[in-house]
């Protein structure tokens, strides 16, 4: 394990930001810290980097107890949401900074910086100031700067959070490819579940200062440990007292089965290839999503009476939110 976080707690005044958090982050993987705003993700990342001190608990990086080490000695690369560029230095010198601190020979610095700028596709911008770059370019510069010192772990705090949706999508795919090339243990914070599901090898869900679940994107999506994770990772709807994903529901117009719930379609919305049907049962409004073809083959319209049921072999949580079933991940 590359990063071991053991029983870390952190308060800001009376406010508990992290409450007895334990996480193991495997070497060489891309791990996402996912959770709602204010959940404590940045705090945890900053504690790993040594930018914040835990009130209690320990942090180990590559087997070395880093709990009492200052950020300078931890050899972590940190990338901030708002770039944290050295505004008065050129792109080249920004990237060179860590190497200059380490007093590497000039020639070595030059060739290493050129190599990194090529890696992040900024070769032609070496002499510009950060203010002359776009947000995405600035963030790639920040990434090159962090990678320059060959960090043991790379920590990214919502690296694409300040960018527009399209650039964000491009950059996260690019980050995935970069990671497959560089293979440095990487932890990145996001509150965008799609980003985490798409990019990460492993996801740590953090909410209100606690770890809700740790697992692969598939685990989390298919076997959420609790309602919170289920709700956070994707759309949900309620059928009877079960919490399910709208695309895990089926509709048919045949004779009602004992497991079926009868309802009337009250609204049909089309979003690209996806059809979203709102079905009003005797006591609920249930949302079902299905593909266009499935929908057309049903031959129904608003006002039709249909049967709804959960597709076989689908996990569904209890909508009453039974907290005792939370997997306390360690």
């Amino acid at each position: 394990m590359s990063i071991e976080i053991k029983n870390v707690a952190k308060r800001f005044g009376g406010f508990v930001a992290l409450d007895d958090v334990s996480v193991s982050i495997p070497s060489g993987q891309l791990t996402a810290l996912l959770g709602p705003s204010g959940g404590g993700k940045s705090t945890l990342l900053r504690i790993i980097a040594g930018l914040e001190r835990a009130d209690s608990g320990r942090v180990e990086i590559e087997g070395l107890d880093a709990t009492d080490l200052p950020p300078q000695k931890r050899n972590v690369g940190f990338v901030f949401q708002h770039y944290a560029a050295f505004k008065h230095l050129s792109v080249h010198r920004n990237v060179a900074f860590g190497l200059e601190i380490r007093k590497r020979p000039k020639a070595e610095i030059r060739s290493r910086v050129e190599e990194l700028l090529a890696l992040v596709h900024l070769e032609q911008f070496a002499d510009r100031l950060p203010s002359q770059l776009s947000g995405g370019q600035r963030q790639r510069m920040a990434l090159a700067r962090a990678l320059a010192v060959q960090p043991t772990v790379l920590l990214l705090d919502e690296p694409f959070g300040a960018l527009d949706a399209k650039v964000r999508k491009e950059l996260r795919e690019w980050l995935r490819r970069l990671h497959d090339e560089v293979h440095v243990t990487t932890v990145f914070v996001t509150h965008d579940q799609e980003e985490a599901l798409e990019v990460a090898d492993e996801i740590v869900v953090i909410n209100e200062g606690r770890v809700e679940q740790i697992g692969s994107p598939d685990d989390l999506y298919d076997q959420p440990a609790n309602d919170f994770v289920m709700r956070f990772l994707g759309p949900v709807t309620q059928l009877g007292d079960r919490l399910v994903r709208p695309h895990d529901l089926q509709i048919h117009t045949g004779a009602p089965d004992p497991a079926d719930v009868t309802g009337r379609i009250t609204r049909i919305t089309r979003i690209g290839f996806e059809i979203r049907a709102e079905i009003t049962t005797s006591d609920q409004i249930v949302t079902v999503t299905l593909t266009r073809n499935e929908f057309l083959s049903l031959n129904v319209e608003a006002g039709s009476t249909v049967q709804v049921r959960v597709a076989p072999q689908i996990h569904a949580g209890s909508a009453t939110g039974n907290r005792s079933e939370i997997l306390r991940a360690t």
Partner: protein, 248 residues
């Protein structure tokens, strides 16, 4: 541009025209007059020294005001800093005289010495660097400092390579203001310095006495020299500032 001309260029030209009214020789005689030269030397030298002190102290005070969270006299200091701005200079002079004059309650008598000139300059120029640096320091990107720290930079290196280059333009602006203010200071020092020719007489006093003696050309000549010096200093400050920023 017109506005600038009316406000600045025309009076400046007038000074230079008056200064050269009696020809080059007279101009030269006026500024090399022993007493005048001594006054210029004292004024410029002291203003220079005071500016250096302000660069260091002003930056430190601004630092404490912005960064030191526990410093508890902060509010009081905030108010105190502006007193030299708020006080009419002659009142400042009076305060200095009663504090450091012959009847000093502190037992410190610096009346009629060059120290008095230094102190008066220091008093009136104190706020400049503090007030120019403070807002810049408040706006500084703390995360850039954290980034530097995780890249291995020590606190000192972070200050020198990340913080200082960002502050330098503000420090330079404050230093230029402080120098200019020092050179032109009159009110706060006339009472305490005694205006002794060759010893504690500053140029503003010298100019005034020239005018009182109906020697307008001589006064303008001194003013023109001060103008030239201030200009050189401001340009020099700018050059140094750019260099510090670029070196990072």
């Amino acid at each position: 541009m017109l506005w600038f001309s009316l406000l600045v260029l025309i009076p400046l030209t007038a000074v230079i025209v008056t200064a050269s009214g009696n020809g080059w020789v007279e101009f030269w005689r006026a500024v090399t007059n022993e007493q005048t030269a001594a006054a210029i030397q004292l004024t410029v030298g002291t203003a220079f020294l005071v500016t250096l002190v302000n660069i260091v102290m002003g930056t430190m005070i601004a630092w404490v005001l912005v960064r030191d969270e526990r410093f508890f006299g902060k509010r009081a200091l905030e108010v105190l800093i502006d007193i030299p701005f708020a006080l009419p200079t002659i009142v400042a002079g009076l305060v200095l005289l009663s504090l450091y004059g012959p009847d000093s309650p502190l037992g410190v008598n610096i009346a009629n010495t060059r120290v008095a000139v230094f102190l008066a300059f220091l008093f009136v120029t104190l706020p400049f660097v503090v007030r120019t640096v403070q807002p810049v320091l408040t706006e500084l990107d703390r995360e850039a400092e954290e980034a530097a720290a995780s890249l291995g930079a020590s606190r000192f290196t972070i200050f020198r390579r990340i913080i200082l280059p960002s502050l330098t333009p503000a420090i330079a602006a404050g230093a230029a203001l402080s120098f200019a203010r020092g050179v032109s200071e009159y009110g706060s020092l006339v009472l305490l310095s005694g205006n002794l020719p060759m010893r504690t007489e500053v140029t503003s006093v010298r100019i005034l006495s020239s005018i009182e003696n109906d020697n307008l050309e001589s006064a303008a000549a001194v003013a023109a020299v001060l103008l030239a010096i201030s200009f050189v200093v401001i340009v020099a400050v700018d050059v140094i500032q750019r260099r510090v920023v670029r070196r990072g």
